[in-house]
């Protein structure tokens, strides 16, 4: 049998003998992606466990088993992990790393050593963030937004979290840089931008955001640190600063960051829908361009987080107007995807189920975002559970669901094995039902005035929190089961072959499964569109030794 990337690797330094060191030092994009996945999903489970503690606490009004301060630290820990350690690096670091170079026919990313360094920078950032859990002052209690002057005054260990977020931002910038150069320089000959798979387009748009927006949050965090420890007087009103300035700077990054999360996820959708409809995608260019325009307009809408922050009314109107223009390209994508199913042959394998499920949940997430883009309505809904439900529908029901879709889709590529489809589908249905039960009632609670970040609440809201709790139980059961199915698939699953889904893009044209260390045997020449099907069969066929077309 030929050797796969599990058997051999290139290392950043030297040629270590031990398998362990080979993993630690690896510069192979596929291995690095896997290591990101391992670390990230560990954190993800920590954050889910924290969320479950909060849900238990919220089961009834009054204090159940933790106090207000602990609850405040819990949602901060949950938010910080989910945002900075999981979902921002998320899809690009895991699937971008593993799949993007394969999709463009490259041997690796442009700077493999930098990729290795970035991974360890990420680990450093994660360790710094978690270290404060074990210090006397305890984990930060600011919420993931670190608003001044609260973050400047609190006694908890905010500095660790700020430094960690800064380091993680660096890692994100470097990943973006690496991917940008890779996509510009290492595409296989013949592959113009209009022949790139749409996942690559998603990663590309994201990389620009990572590169251009992340420095703003870096600067903001540094300013906050200087304010807290040297009192430079920029954010703290007691020193002559302006706390609202912090909010602006924070959202100048953090709003584009939500597109940084969703664009690669939309890319996954654009891969799965044509593959499981057995036909070419509808509106390739409009999908690609809408990613780019979302990334562009997304810079100019941060003020929609500040409708109640004492910002000038004229500014609110402008920000609101622009915000609606992000909704439109997003909507167009959804129509394109659904149109792709028209007169196709719909195969409801697990990745497709996740994709279609997400069409429902993200539609809800997106349209409720439109509600709070309306200024007058948002004045009522801002900082209520309506907003919290909206962003969980968008991030969990959008990004994370599509991430899971991608994991199911590329699982056979990465492992060479197939999971049990029937069990994987059960896991999907559990999570889909659980998720909706978990978050839908919160729209209603929020509309009735349940504020966010409340550890205790008025008795009227109890019923919604109880539904939500049972939803969480079902969701987490399904989630755990999904990972069990993955684990069993990897250890005991049947070999999948190189192209189990009958897909068209280059990552499915590997000489062996799992792929060898340096990917394709030869660099292919790309004179075809990414999703060419004829009568439901992929048009382009390769000889995997020479990478010459044989169709």
């Amino acid at each position: 049998m030929s050797k796969s990337y599990f058997d051999e690797t290139h290392c950043a330094i030297g040629h270590p003998k031990s398998t362990f060191m080979q993993w630690m030092l690896t510069i192979d994009h596929k291995r690095i992606g896997l290591m990101y996945a391992a670390v990230m999903f560990t954190f993800f489970f920590v954050a889910v466990a924290t969320a479950f503690v909060m849900r238990l606490e919220l089961f009834a009004p009054g204090a159940q088993f933790i106090d207000g301060d602990t609850f405040n630290q819990a949602f901060t820990l949950h938010g910080v992990i989910m945002i900075f350690l999981f979902i921002i690096p998320g899809v690009p670091a895991v699937l971008g790393n593993i799949v993007m170079p394969l999709m463009i026919g490259a041997k690796d990313v442009s700077f493999p050593r930098l990729n290795w360094f970035t991974f360890w920078l990420y680990i450093l950032g994660a360790l710094v963030a978690l270290a404060s859990l074990f210090t006397d002052a305890g984990f930060a209690d600011t919420g993931w937004t670190f608003y001044a002057p609260y973050s400047l005054n609190t006694g908890t260990n905010v500095i660790f979290t700020l430094v960690a977020a800064f380091i993680l931002g660096m890692a994100s910038i470097l990943t973006g840089l690496n991917f940008l150069v890779t996509i510009h320089r290492l595409r296989a000959p013949g592959m113009t931008f209009w022949k790139m798979p749409l996942f690559v387009w998603g990663i590309y748009a994201t990389a620009w955001i990572q590169l251009l927006a992340t420095p703003v949050v870096g600067i903001t965090l540094i300013l906050a640190i200087m304010e807290k420890y040297f009192g430079i007087g920029i954010f703290d009103p007691a020193k002559g600063g302006d706390p609202v300035l912090f909010e602006h700077l924070f959202w100048i990054y953090s709003h584009p960051a939500v597109y940084l999360m969703i664009l690669p996820a939309f890319g996954i959708m654009s891969e799965i829908i044509p593959t499981f409809s057995r036909r070419t995608i509808f509106g390739y260019r409009s999908i690609a361009l809408s990613s780019a325009s979302i990334a562009g307009v997304g810079y100019l809408v941060w003020g929609h987080h500040l409708y109640t922050s004492g910002m000038a009314d004229t500014a609110k109107v402008i920000f609101s107007f622009l915000t609606f223009f992000v909704a439109i390209p997003t909507g167009v994508k959804f129509y394109d995807w659904v149109a792709t199913m028209y007169k196709g042959k719909i195969i409801l394998s697990t990745p497709m189920l996740w994709a279609l499920g997400t069409i429902i949940t993200f539609t809800i997430g997106g349209l409720t975002g439109v509600t709070i883009a309306m200024i007058g309505v948002d004045i009522h809904l801002q900082d209520t559970y309506y907003t919290v439900a909206h962003f969980h529908y968008a991030m969990l029901g959008g990004v994370v669901f599509l991430f899971f879709a991608g994991l199911h889709y590329w699982f056979p590529l990465v492992t060479g094995k197939m999971y049990n489809e029937k069990q994987a589908k059960i896991a999907f249905y559990l999570q889909f039902v659980g998720f909706n039960l978990l978050w839908f009632p919160m729209f209603i609670a929020g509309y009735y005035g349940m504020p966010r970040r409340y550890f205790d609440y008025l008795p009227e809201f109890q019923i919604y929190h109880q539904f939500s709790f049972f939803g969480a139980v079902i969701f987490i059961t399904g989630l755990t089961y999904m990972f069990v199915v993955f684990f069993k698939g990897w250890t005991k699953g049947k070999p999948s072959g190189t192209n189990p889904w009958n897909a068209t893009t280059l990552e499915w044209h590997m000489p062996s499964s799992p792929p060898p260390l340096e990917n394709h045997s030869k660099v292919p020449y790309v004179d075809f569109e990414p999703y060419e099907y004829h009568h439901g069969e992929p048009v382009v066929k390769f000889d995997y030794e020479t990478m010459k077309r044989i169709d």
């Binding site: 608003y147 509808f282 509106g283 167009v332 009227e460 009568h535």
Partner: protein, 327 residues
């Protein structure tokens, strides 16, 4: 008096502009349903119609463009979005256009960790009503609130002490909210058109007791309001014949000590219970505890939570006396 049931308070739409906001919300709701269905219904239909067993490979179409359709699904949603933008704007417009000061009552609101204070303009007798509103866990409600007459425009001028943090004054029944920012003054206004009691919640995260930073707005008939306003009674509902509170006790309530300390039980709220504190510590300690709380921090509590109170010497003495009297 309990906190009023939020949901009934909510549904009563007690401010003149609440109907505008709700109108915008429901318009958005129905447009969202329509737009959502144009995605979800075809998705289910196609998934069923073109299911694997129902389609022969030769029948698969590779159609990738349909210009009229693409124009339609870009322009129609754009038009609908502009409608929503417009109603978002108009509903904001009424909320954010302050009425003339001459036809309104302007009340100063101060939000601080974790209480709300109101200061009225002076009445005919020159008395200035100052009200502190804190949530009392014992009764599960707030004792005093903001008293306003029905059908009267009220402007709230809101701020927070310079060393405090951001809060937000949120009245679900009125559909209004605005941040209360240290070092700045923000404003909002309302005209309540239904007599009743409405919850006020702090909607901007502000730490330990964020979820207990309630107040309430009590909307009264004009005559009742006037009667109270021209008097010097603490609230319209407090029995005038009841024995007056001692100076110490009313200072204790007005400064919001009760929000963080229980004094007749051992319950720990935010700070330690002050029951029997006089037996444990002398007057000098208690005085310091008020003026410089971080100097000595009892076991199990953190510095920086209790703000230093810069009160006149005489008031501090009264407070100390009151604490010492709490057995």
């Amino acid at each position: 008096m309990d906190v009023n049931n939020t949901l009934s308070g909510f549904n009563s739409m007690a401010a003149t502009f609440a109907a505008d906001v709700d109108h915008a919300f429901w318009l958005n709701f129905w447009i969202s349903i329509v737009l959502g269905m144009t995605v979800i219904i075809p998705m289910f239909y196609f998934a069923w119609k073109y299911r694997e067993s129902n389609v022969k490979n030769e029948d698969i179409s590779n159609n990738s463009h349909n210009t009229p359709l693409e124009i339609a699904w870009t322009l129609i949603p754009t038009a609908l979005m502009m409608v929503l933008f417009y109603y978002g704007y108009t509903s904001m417009k009424t909320l954010r256009t302050m009425p003339a000061a001459s036809e309104s009552i302007t009340i100063k609101v101060e939000g601080s960790k974790w209480k709300w204070k109101y200061e009225y303009p002076a009445n005919k007798a020159g008395h200035v009503h100052k009200i502190t509103s804190v949530y009392d866990k014992k009764i599960g409600g707030v004792k005093r609130g903001l008293y306003v007459p029905k059908g009267q425009k009220v402007i709230l001028e809101m701020t927070s002490p310079i060393n405090d943090v951001i809060h937000a004054y949120f009245v679900p029944a009125f559909r209004m909210k605005e941040d209360v920012i240290p070092g700045r003054t923000t404003k909002q206004w309302f005209e309540a058109d239904k007599v009743g009691e409405y919850d006020v919640e702090c909607a901007e995260y502000c730490g330990t007791a964020h979820s207990y930073m309630y107040s309430k707005i009590v909307v009264m008939e004009r005559a009742d309001y006037d009667k109270w306003f021209e008097s010097s009674a603490k609230s319209p509902f407090e029995d005038a014949s009841a024995p007056a509170l001692s100076k110490g006790q009313s200072l204790y309530e007005d400064n919001g000590c009760a929000g963080c300390h229980s004094i007749d039980t051992d319950a720990i709220l935010v700070g330690p219970s002050l029951k029997g504190i006089g037996a444990k510590h002398d007057a000098a300690y208690l005085k310091d505890a008020i003026l410089t709380p971080d100097k000595v921090v009892p076991e199990g509590f953190y510095p920086g939570v209790m703000p230093p109170f810069a009160l006149p010497e005489a008031d501090v003495a009264e407070l100390v006396k009151y604490m010492q009297s709490a057995k």
